[in-house]
Structure formats: C-alpha cells, structure tokens
Symmetry: C2
C-alpha cells in the first residue's frame, strides 16, 4: 500500500510539482457535450486527469459534488481510474468529516475501504478522540483543518485563548499530540499568508494542504514564500475551479492542462 506522505514528497522532488488538482465536477458547469453522457462527471474527470497527470502531486475530489447528485459510483470509478492508470499519484478525499469515535470509524471506512483513497480531510472541532479512528491508519494522510481559506475562517479559528489563536492551538496539538503515527497534515489557506508563516514556524516540516489559490484569490508568491518547509516544498497547493473550468468548451482538457502547467510553473518560480 502507498504511504501518502512519502508519495507526496516523492512527487514534490521527482515531478517537481506542488500542484494538486481538485476534482469538483458540477453538472451545471462542465462542457455541454458531456452532460448527455451516462457518466458525465467521470468522463470529465478522466479527461482532466489524463491531461494533468504529469503536473500534479495529488488529486483531491470533494465528495459533496458527488453526493449531492447521487454520483457515488462515478467517484469510485474516478479514484479507481487514477489508481489503475497512475498508481504513483495519491488521492485525497476532501470530506472534512468529524464525529464521535464510533461514527468516525465509519467515516474512516468510507474514505479508506469504500473509496480506497490515500488521505482524508477531517474537522478537529470535536476533539482528539474523534480523530483517533482516522489517525490509526498509519499509511494514510490525515489532513486536519487548521486555518481555512474562507472569509469567515476568523469567526472561530482566530479566537484567542491564553494569548494564542485557536489555529495555533490546533497546529501545536497536531504536532505534539496527534502526529503519533507521523501521518498528520494541516489545511492552511493560501488566502492568509501571515498565518501560513506562523503555522509553518510551529509545525516544522509537517506538510500542508493549501486551498485558496485561483477562484478564491490567494496570492501565489505570498503563499509559497510563507508556507514552504526547509526543502522548499511542504505544500500540496490545490486549485479546483481555475483549472477544471479553464474552458467551458470542447477544448476543456487542453485548457486545464495549460492552466495547470502555468500554475505549477508559477509556484516553482517562488520556491
């Protein structure tokens, strides 16, 4: 079985890319000629994957885009397609799960046994005991929300306790308590480069999943300079919409490739 963090580090080094493409297909946004097909989301994903496979360190399907439209089978088939054709590329299930331990075990089963993904995003609000059922999967990447990329992230995450903001407390717990199997990563949004720098200083070389580039407006240079680890890597930088919807026409996969190439190169400029 693939070890997620090793596979990502290997891609950073050997493929020279920090880019992750988010596979969040929306039937109302994909090209018209695909919408009539039996499995339109799968066909869309396959074309995006084939055209970007050499440019990414991971793929990240967001499960809501499949569950909202009864498309679980297309998600399964997408992941199977990646594993079969591109066995070196790890897959992150972006589901941000969090529940009491007995239920969290079921969510871990969803991610790792049903969908066979290599990593999963999880929400820490309910506390450490709710993360354990994920953390015990040593080879899987457990990606904990820390400082998210959205405008309202500050509402809870920036509250201060004993002079430390909640996201700093999460970062410290992630490093000191939750990483007992060496499989923890953090979500830190590109839209908040100052926080990226702070969290990097707390967590050493812990890898980050960094959303917020592209449609969400994060600045690439600022994010890379503030989030890099000692090897000038350390970040899985995700973009979804700015790549997969680069063109609404028949040339969508070529346009996605161009957008991915440009973003990969721009990221590398600042490393």
């Amino acid at each position: 079985m693939m070890n997620f963090i090793k596979a990502v580090r290997s891609a950073w080094e050997h493929k020279d890319t920090l880019l992750c493409v988010g596979l969040d297909p929306d039937l109302e946004k994909i090209p018209w000629h695909l919408r009539e097909m039996d499995e339109p989301l799968l066909e869309f994903n396959k074309a995006i994957i084939d055209s970007t496979c050499d440019l990414v360190c991971a793929y990240k399907p967001q499960i809501a885009f499949y569950s909202a439209s009864k498309a679980e089978k297309q998600l399964e088939a997408t992941i199977d397609y990646i594993h079969t054709r591109y066995p070196d590329i790890p897959v992150i299930l972006d589901s941000k799960r969090g529940d009491i331990a007995s239920t969290a075990s079921m969510y871990a089963k969803e991610a790792f046994e049903r969908y066979h993904t290599d990593a999963v995003t999880v929400n820490p609000y309910m506390g450490g005991d709710t993360l354990d059922p994920f953390l015990k999967h040593k080879d899987k990447g457990i990606i904990i929300l820390c400082r998210t990329s959205n405008p309202g992230a500050a509402d809870i995450q920036d509250l201060e306790s004993d002079g430390k903001k909640i996201y700093r407390i999460i970062a410290r717990k992630a490093s000191e308590e939750w990483n007992y199997n060496g499989n923890v990563l953090l979500v830190v949004g590109a839209t908040y480069p100052r926080e990226l720098k702070e969290i990097r200083s707390i967590t050493g070389d812990m890898p980050f999943l960094v959303p917020g580039i592209g449609a969400q407006g994060g600045d690439i240079e600022e994010a890379v300079r503030n989030g890099m680890d000692h090897d000038r890597a350390g970040m899985i930088i995700n973009s979804s919409r700015s790549i997969i919807y680069a063109s609404p026409e028949r040339d969508f996969s070529a346009a996605a490739r161009n957008a991915a190439m440009n973003l990969r190169n721009e990221i590398n400029l600042y490393r």
Copy 2:
C-alpha cells in the same frame, strides 16, 4: 413543506415525547436473519420505525453508517418510508457537514434535495459564511455543533477566549448572528449537564439536539432538568444504540419499542 422546528414542537406537545431514535444500522450488529436480505439496513430501519413511531419527535439517521457500506439507496428509501407512512415525523440527517460556501451549497443539496430531510447537523469550525448556504433554507432545521457529548469535546470547545469558553461563544453567535431565519438549533451533549444549563441560559428557547443518553452514559434526570426550556421541553433527546440494539434477536423491534417507551417515560418523569 414541513417546518422542522414547528413539527418538533408539535410532537413535544401532542405526542408528549422528546425522544429521537438514531437510525445507525451496522450490518455487523443487526439480527442475523436480516443480514442475508437484499436491503438489510432498510428492513431493519422499517421494523424499528414501525415499532417506535408513536414514541418519537424525530428520527435521525447518521449518514456514515450508510456511506461506509455503499448503502445510499437504503438511506433514501428509509427517509422516503418515514415521509410516506408517518408524514408528521421530521427526519434529521446527521452528517455534521462544514466547508467553504460553494461546497456547503452542495452539502445542503445533499441533505434537502437528494435525501429530502427536514434538518441537518453542521460543524461551525469554518465560520458563519460556511453556515449561510444551510441557514437560507428557512423551513429546515440547521443544527449546529456547540458542546458535543464525547470525552474529547473539551479539547477545543472548552478553550477560553476573553473568559468565555468556545461553546459559549458558539451559543451566543447562534442566538445573535446565525438565527436570522429562526431555524437554528444546537447540539449539546447530555453527558455534560452543567454545560447544558449554561447554554440554555444563553439561548432562551432555542431547541437542542441532545445526544449522549444510553450507550454514551449521560444521566437522564440531570440532562432533562438542566436542558429544558420554559415549556418544559426544548430538547430532542437522541438515543441510537440503546434502542435499536436492545435485542440482537428476532424480537429486536419489540425490544426497541420497550426501550424507547421506557426512555420516553423516564424523560417525561423529570419534565
């Protein structure tokens, strides 16, 4: 369309019950004679529903138990069964979703358009803008995690900011900022009666979803006395395992009825 909070208040009053049964069927725990059937989780649920329908103010399927085993169709059919046979009983999708707004819209679609549920549980860690795509559904119940029932709940929820614990801050935001459509409820665990009382004092008559009775060990008397609103109601008190697995044999639905009746009556003793 049903208004969730009105439907629950009506059940509290006219059916004289605060009980909610959690429909969390696990193929490894349901009676043997059901496991060979085509749709074992659905058959199990139907029997539980038929035997407890007069004793509950709501049903609450936990989605992980279905998604872990590719049983989305059985979840759809369970909810459809409740709506068709027992149209007055509201259904809560327990999914604890939380994501950036564009993704949260997809999760709202999952809960309300795909599964046709009347309420959904959500996680507030990412902030107010991530709750809006749920909150805009005026007739649906949006049930926000506040103080959860698990042992590790204190890790984040009890951190103090400006002398106030995070769960108090969530309770205040829920009352003052997020309840603009009058459709907000809070999750407050029965296992922490002191916190139930505090949160009740902050939120007036806002309804609570109260897990933690039964397998999780919460004390019924303490929970009821501390969590009631001015009408001696205000709580949707959930139990899953202690009811649905009251017997592992062919008499499981009769045993579930007995367990539900006893719990409903014990709750009412203390109102």
